[in-house]
Symmetry: C2
């Protein structure tokens, strides 16, 4: 962990280093992933059988080795502890409501020239969702990916997930039930993404692939971008907390650690105008780290990437620093967060006030928790229904409107050296 003060003479240099520090490993798996994707494209299910055996030690023989039937996830849901089932239901209901309010509206209008113009939003036919195996198989991620697809109107949502010894996470299955997932295939890794993109004998292709995964999965998505739509290149999680000295230091320490516990490459940063408060937070982090079952991961993250930045004037100094960091999560632990909500331009999601810890947004608030990382909030957005939809523009002219705007099109076509374009207009002018 490092402490910076905006009054230090080398502040700009140190802050710039913090902004530009890369926490994303360059993984040299492009060649391997390319081979795997080609094999799946060319040999279909046979390649899946081979890779599942090789990478997961898992044999795909009978149909029941391939697919988890819907009854199984309904059962997993029914067998959940009541408190957990209610929490999952609350999360799903709220996520659904937020994303329903996000649905775009079509346009269809006729302008002054008499030209009919518009755009129609439609869902993709099928969406694929990667769910990692093991510890990173979060039911909340399944809800956050599958529900927007369903709200968008996607008819077929397909989960692929590795089940190494045939084991699957019951909570993930229950979430699949709540989200209304249509198919779950017991394949993971880059080969599963190849199957989703190209289709195999058993697995029909999808149009969009989303969801988190390891370096192979990330590289496969990158290589398949353009064959299918993908959500985003995802990096390590991060949080920026902006707080004055009036917050409870324990609360803020817990908020910082809630990102740190995800991964040793996660990053947690506090900006405050109160050096005394900063010291209390630092102490509380140390205490909480010693108590957490995830303390080892959280400590590695906090030690390597954590930062506390003390500024002189929070209102004027914090927003420009926040914009340069363009963090995934930004907490505004202030009595009146409104001015900063307006002045922070680059952030994945903003959490307003002292009673809004980021963890509430991870699970039950409604907005999506799949958010841009690694400063990508400068140009990209969290997952939404739009990732599962596409827009078709349309236009219609009649003779009168054609007479008004057609000639200009022919003029420009000639100027660009495209005579057939011009001719398609000129023939209609006679």
């Amino acid at each position: 962990m490092q402490t910076l003060s905006s009054l230090d003479p080398d502040f700009e240099k140190r802050f710039r280093r913090l902004v530009n520090a890369r926490r994303e490993a360059d993984s040299d798996v492009a060649g391997q992933v390319s081979d795997i994707l080609s094999a799946v494209k060319n040999r279909g299910d046979a390649a899946l059988v081979e890779y599942s055996q090789r990478f997961d030690g898992y044999s795909l023989i009978d149909d029941s080795d391939w697919v988890i039937p819907r009854e199984r996830y309904a059962q997993a849901y029914a067998e959940l502890d009541a408190e957990l089932r209610e929490a999952l239901d609350l999360a799903a209901t709220r996520i659904r409501a937020y994303h329903e309010a996000q649905l775009p509206t079509d346009r269809d209008y006729t302008d002054d020239a008499g030209v009919r113009l518009g755009a129609i939003w439609r869902p993709v036919d099928a969406a694929g969702l990667y769910v990692p195996g093991g510890r990173a198989a979060y039911p909340s991620s399944l809800l956050m990916n599958a529900i927007p697809a369903k709200v968008a109107g996607v008819e077929r949502t397909v989960v692929v997930t590795p089940t190494p010894k045939g084991n699957s996470n019951p909570l993930v299955l229950a979430a699949a039930h709540v989200a209304g997932v249509d198919e779950i295939w017991r394949v993971g890794g880059a080969h599963a993404l190849g199957a989703l993109a190209y289709g195999t004998e058993k697995i029909k292709p999808v149009d969009v692939i989303t969801g988190p995964g390891n370096a192979y999965v990330a590289e496969a998505k990158r290589q398949l971008y353009g064959v299918v739509g993908i959500d985003m290149v995802a990096g390590p999680s991060e949080i920026l907390v902006i707080s004055d000295g009036k917050s409870d230091p324990d609360w803020i320490a817990a908020d910082l650690l809630s990102q740190a516990e995800h991964d040793p490459t996660s990053q947690s940063i506090l900006i405050t105008d109160d050096a005394g408060f900063a010291a209390l937070v630092e102490d509380s982090v140390a205490v909480q780290l010693s108590q957490l079952s995830t303390g080892k991961v959280a400590k590695a993250s906090w030690d390597a990437h954590g930062a506390i930045i003390v500024v002189n004037d929070l209102e004027s100094e914090a927003p420009p620093l926040a914009n340069r960091l363009a963090a995934e999560h930004v907490e505004l632990a202030l009595d009146d967060p409104e001015p900063m909500l307006q002045s922070i331009r680059h952030a994945g999601s903003i959490f307003l006030g002292r009673m809004t810890p980021e963890a509430v947004g991870d699970y039950v608030a409604g907005p999506n928790h799949v958010l841009p990382t690694g400063r990508r909030a400068r140009f990209s957005s969290g997952l939404s229904v739009l990732d599962f939809m596409k827009r078709t523009s349309f236009l219609g002219l009649d003779e009168a409107s054609f007479a008004k705007i057609g000639p200009a099109a022919a003029t420009l076509a000639h100027a660009e050296g495209l005579p057939a374009h011009a001719k398609s207009v000129e023939l209609r002018r006679k």
Copy 2:
């Protein structure tokens, strides 16, 4: 050119082959492009000087070698032929109006549980636009890329374009003036994209890069995806015309050729229910090909990739075929195109009725002409203001709403094995 009939016993097989035929060349330039991008990232302007000399035979020495000043593009506009200037103005005005109507609206509401929820759309800080040199430097492309960025509110729009012997296209400069482009740099190729993404001593980095280019440019964009936002992986242009026998065959032939003349890899397809009309169109294509200055390119495209599909019942058969083709442009040359507008789910842009040739949309109608190709309309959309904006979600809880939804978040956090997440909630419950 091939003719298919839906009554032929091998129709499904032949149509499937048509759908799956790849017109996009696999170019093996990934290694070279990766080297170029690394060099620009590490050596900045020095690398640009070196590559401009090597690839374009162009020396970047004085400032005037690097930049085309704004006065130059104002002058190019002033010196345009009046008819051309008016056409350019009309195009810009209409493109601006269509894209202004496309601006998304922010959300900010409080739900039944008392949780404040919303999303704010903001423009990126800077957008880079690639403009190819030579024949493919279309002023219309500049308008279609730069105007949506400006409408989105982007403060800095930056064009990079190769100017081999120092020559630049005056019509492109005039378009830059009309669109309000802020900077034009005389660098092209993959190294120019590296400069836009990473920044150099002279060129400040941008957040989003759009615009067409050759295989090197396309590969550079693909490799930079994630460092910056990019528009889309673009492939050869394509048109699908759906017409009954009542259209003028010459008009439809010209429409088909208006795509074919772009590139030998372009594709033009007609679906009609009138075999006699199909024959007339085929004849007219042959006649017009012999008259076009772009006839050589258009003939290569039509011979290799053109198709006429005769169906029995247009209303029921054309939409499913169109959905499988998911074409960039779909013309509905019918008296009443409305039912098909509703039933065609996958298309970049749809042109309604007999008086709406695709060329009108290329230039002056208003909707964007940068559209998904190669069946990508299944999952992606034409360029829009959204490509130059990003959405920040936000949420705010008070003690009452926290009491309602906080506990469920803690329950789920524990179930996922993330105790710091749970603790950040539980500390606030006391």
